[in-house]
Amino acid sequence: MTGIARPVLRGLLAVLGVVVAVVFLPVAFGVMPQRVFDAGCTASQTLGSSFFCYGFLWNTVTTGVFIGIMGPVIGMFLVHREMALIGETLAHTAFAGVAFGTLLLGVSGWDVRLLVVAIVVAVVGALAVQWLVDRTGSYGDVPIAIMLTGSFAVGTLFIDLGGGFAFVDINSYLFGNISITDDRSVTLMAVLLFAVVGVVSVAYRPLVYITFDEQTATAVRFNVRGYNALLIVLTALVIVGAMQILGVILVAAMLVVPVAAASMLASGFKDALYIAVLIGVGSVLAGIGLSWTYSLRPGATIVVVAIGVYLLAVTVSGSERFT
């Protein structure tokens, strides 16, 4: 690998792993002792901020860290298959899911968890994208554009049918919201984290092979169609999770930008994947911090920070190997 020494990278990842296991997973599953929150609040106040004195911000940071890990893990496979816009498309499909949830709320008053509805609709949308791709034979512009605009159009109709914006703050889903994640959402995010990281760890080799050389992967009898469907469904899960903080419009950046930056810095796929995760988590944490401090929208702040890291990577690497 170039620029960044492998032992330093592995060390940083180990630290991240320990922090996730000791801090963020207990927060996500609601088993963190109260005294840790109190200690966090005290430490935060000592530094002149009340950031960690708010319970919802613990949820936000936890969700953000999970997004920072999951986004690049899936993004590595999407970006290098030239499927970066799939993330954006699925975000719009998930938006249709949220809108469908508002319709259910408006019509029947059911207590529908919007996130769960969004996940179901996004997965269905993901399979529809895969079907279109199989039928048209490529991840070309046309099926992507049709799905992207089509699902946004359907979502908008659902909102109108469900009584407009009366039942949910759609603006939060479009642009992201730092306080949108409640206790149940963050638990769901932890489950998604396990699912995404677990599946990618197990299916890593077939996914890398198919990403690099789909024809040969077919010749050596990998189930290419099955793995493609798996990848796109996992993407839908990540997108719905990340949509809460980043918003529909900016969510794809978390799948693309850290990967683009990491691909400038590393020679190998695994190293690039690890660097992308560190950049993803770093960008989310810095973005949330800046967003809170300066009352900015979290999604936009995170994306701008990540793009700053990308530009730094371009400068440091001095290479044109990835654009």
């Binding site: 040969t216 050596v220 796929f269």
Partner: protein, 257 residues
């Protein structure tokens, strides 16, 4: 001698347009088999059918003695596709990571065993690319990239190696060294199917040749193949009738192996 591939009356069409029409032949174990023909004659389509990438509309293909549709021994296949079909030019992948892919069909999940790592090391040495093992694949020249893909097939310990225009855009020196390597692998028993734009190269290296123009227009020993019978192919390939191309009469004995 047993048969690696047995093709019987295979037909394939792209949306009604026939690309391969009633093709039959077989390839013996250890044979070096050349596929030639003009552009659009169905060579690549036929190769994809032989590897199971495409399914024939009709006819029967047996690979390693089993029907291709039920055949699952992916680890016995090595494939060097046309350069344009790969995405490696933007992907961060070290040479070693690409070669290690040869072991993936053997070991799709779980940790690599010692024999997987040994096979990768040996493949890097066989193809003489150990010195660039930790370099980025996309930074190598076209010729070196093709050698890396050959090493991937060596690491797989493939019994069948299929190559589709492997040396397009590769300079003459690298091309010669590539084919030397290919001959060595074939001598060790790796059955080889080669599509190449240079008719002379195929005649020089192959034991037998199949000339395609949707159906087979020639099937027989390379030494007896008369390039003029494939005038359209000779025009399409556009390769100069220079030193590399040899007439069957001038073919040295040792090239028909």
């Amino acid at each position: 001698m047993s048969t690696t591939l047995d093709v019987e009356n295979v037909t394939f069409s792209y949306t009604g347009r026939p690309a391969v029409d009633e093709v039959s032949f077989s390839i013996d174990d250890g044979e070096f088999f050349g596929l030639v023909g003009p552009n659009g004659s169905g060579k690549t389509t036929l190769l994809k059918l032989l590897l199971g990438i495409l399914q024939p509309d009709s006819g029967r293909i047996r690979l390693f003695g089993e029907p291709i549709e039920s055949h699952d021994a992916g680890e016995r296949i090595g494939y060097v596709p046309q350069q344009s079909t790969r995405r490696g030019q933007t992907m961060p992948l070290t040479v070693r990571e690409v070669v290690a892919m040869g072991r993936y069909p053997h070991k799709s999940f779980g940790r690599f065993r010692a024999k997987d790592n040994t096979a990768v090391d040996e493949a890097l040495q066989t193809v003489d690319i150990s010195s660039v093992a930790h370099r980025r694949f996309s930074q190598l020249s076209g010729g070196q990239q093709q050698r890396v893909l050959l090493a991937r097939a060596v690491a797989a310990k493939a019994d069948l190696l299929a190559l589709d225009e492997p040396t397009v855009g590769v300079d003459a020196e690298a091309r010669e060294s590539f084919f030397e390597l290919l001959n060595r692998l074939n001598d060790k028993g790796m059955t080889t199917i080669l599509i190449d734009h240079d008719l002379g190269t195929v005649i020089e290296h192959a034991d037998r040749i199949a000339a395609m123009n949707r159906s087979l227009s020639y099937l027989g020993p390379a030494a007896e193949f008369e390039p003029t019978t494939l005038s359209s192919a000779a025009t399409a390939v556009g390769s100069p009738a220079g030193s590399r191309r040899r007439s069957p009469q001038s073919q040295p004995q040792n090239t028909s192996r």
